[in-house]
Amino acid sequence: MNIKRWIAVLLLAFSSALAAQGNLEIDSPAIAALKGAMQQRHARLAPLYAAGAVGQAADGTIALRDASSVPLAQRGQVNSLIAAENADRLALYREIARANDHPEWEADVRRTFAQRWIDRAQPGWWVQRGGSWVRK
């Protein structure tokens, strides 16, 4: 009788622990704002990805891969586009860690994203693997 009760408590403890680990909170207003800004910027970045001028770096950011494919007059604009995107990406990683009450997860979130940006990059885009650029 008593044992059954203990087992029930044990199972309950297990199930609630599992449920708590199912998802990461990504619905904070700060995350939504960053997502919106990045989505808008993507319209300008996508052609640069496709042209190989900009690639997905191994550290969860984007980087100028081939400056020569960008006309000199536009390099400044491309550089500020990259800087703005990277600032948002880093803020996104920080905000996700904070939204889950684990600010110390920031580096892990960044590592996870770095891998997923590269995995999900479209054919023809450049990604950084093992220190060198590879065309998908």
Partner: protein
């Protein structure tokens, strides 16, 4: 017997707390995918080519 069960329960509870401190890699991957799909708009995978041309204009805001 009851003592043993109490010990098991305590160990389990402690283990659960410990697990929660570790980074939930699978959940993070899922979350990353959801955000990447939204940012890159991967659902409607074929973007109109016309949008590509305004990248050359650069970012006017900056």
């Amino acid at each position: 017997m009851r003592l043993a069960l109490a010990a098991v329960l305590l160990t389990t509870a402690t283990a659960c707390v410990t697990i929660n401190i570790y980074f939930p890699a699978a959940a993070a991957e899922k979350a990353a995918d959801r955000i990447i799909e939204e940012v890159w708009q991967l659902q409607e995978s074929s973007r109109p080519a016309a949008e590509a041309s305004d990248a050359a204009e650069g970012e006017s805001k900056q």
